[in-house]
Symmetry: C2
Subunit: 200 residues, 2 copies
DNA sequence: AGAAGTTAAGTGGTCAGACCAGTTGTTGAC
DNA sequence: GTCAACAACTGGTCTGACCACTTAACTTCT
């Protein structure tokens, strides 16, 4: 009756096992062979289940050492999805546009939530676009947005190089310190968005 | 030197194969045995790679029949991820916020690019949030944004139910027809954003 | 005793071969 | 022409073997 596939079943059993044992990031799972014996299935089925857990970013396997719980939030998902998405020129155009839109949104949000402490954090950082904007996105205090931005930026860097004048960092810092969202967005639009659209 | 794992390598090779052959939803992939021989790897490695593709929602396997391309957008992954990732409230909060921000951004963009034809497309559609907003996001003519939105929305639906009054659709349609971005955003903020933030 | 090198056991990674359980298309009897 | 039986595929699973790598225990030498 239950034509449920073994590796699916195994997937859930391992998942339950993790929960019940209360495994924390860094903890080690039983070896593949032990899991196979304990769950009364073949090792290949265990492996297919583990692949799924790995893809979900729940576990990490280290050859010769074992299988370990991974820290929360490092989802393979978005990375993988991303690599499927980007293929043709059409996609590159979309990538640029999406990145600009999301950065502007993050900037606005970050500006609203900017605290003195966070501002210091940004002001001190080396003036590279990646580091600078990362701090900004982090200031949104939204981890999911950060993940999405990281992926977009990562892909972006493989296609284009970003080059903004040092005035950008200065003026942006000023706007952020004043917590003036409108000005921050204006600076962004002037130095980044216009820059990108003319570079194509 | 390249200790790259075979099943990872195989994963990408199959992915490339799919692209180059231009396989469409419904099309059949070579059998596992044939893939193994053609790529010169063991069948188990092929299977682990296929598991990953399956989890990503790209393919579907039918016992006795074969492996087939799956229609776009049916991510197995999402449902699984939902049960894992969206456990903490922090993650849910981020999800809601991100979805709202991206929808607002899409709405603005779509409004700018709205054509009469596209508007008809939207106006005709059944008044469910998913279908209605999907058309809006499609009107941005940015496939990457659409992908991101689909993922977010899928997640979201597993956690919350969206319920907006029918006035929302009417007023939004009006704003879109007038191509008035400001009004469209205002309608969105009134009916959706405020709604979500009070629901917690 | 302490340090350095060696060995053995354990782990994930991979492969080959076997068998099961379904599907499909062919064949052949009626 | 129909329909049942069969053969040839497909994915699903298990087993056992080997490789590459890590760790820890065990020598051995100084």
């Amino acid at each position: 009756m239950t034509t449920s596939k073994v590796y699916i079943e195994t997937f859930w059993q391992i998942h339950r096992m993790i929960e019940e044992a209360g495994l924390q990031p860094g903890d080690r799972l039983p070896s593949e062979r032990e899991l196979a014996e304990r769950l009364q299935v073949g090792r290949s089925s265990v492996r297919e289940a583990l692949r799924a857990l790995e893809l979900l970013g729940l576990i990490e396997t280290r050859r010769g050492e074992g299988t370990f719980m991974k820290p929360f939030g490092e989802h393979q998902l978005i990375q993988l999805l991303g690599s499927f998405i980007l293929q043709g020129n059409r996609e590159k155009r979309d990538l640029v546009e999406t990145k600009l839109l999301i950065e502007r949104t993050c900037l606005q949000l970050a500006c609203e939530r900017m605290t003195e402490e966070k501002f210091e954090h940004i002001a001190q950082v080396e003036h590279t676009y990646h580091l600078f904007f990362r701090r900004i996105v982090e200031a949104t205090d939204n981890y999911l947005l950060l993940r999405i931005w990281l992926v977009l930026h990562d892909f972006f860097e493989h296609v284009y190089t970003i080059d903004v004048p040092s005035e950008f960092y200065d003026e942006m810092s000023q706007a952020l310190q004043k917590k003036c969202c409108v000005e921050a967005v204006a600076v962004y639009e002037r130095y980044v968005m216009q820059n990108m659209s003319k570079d194509k």
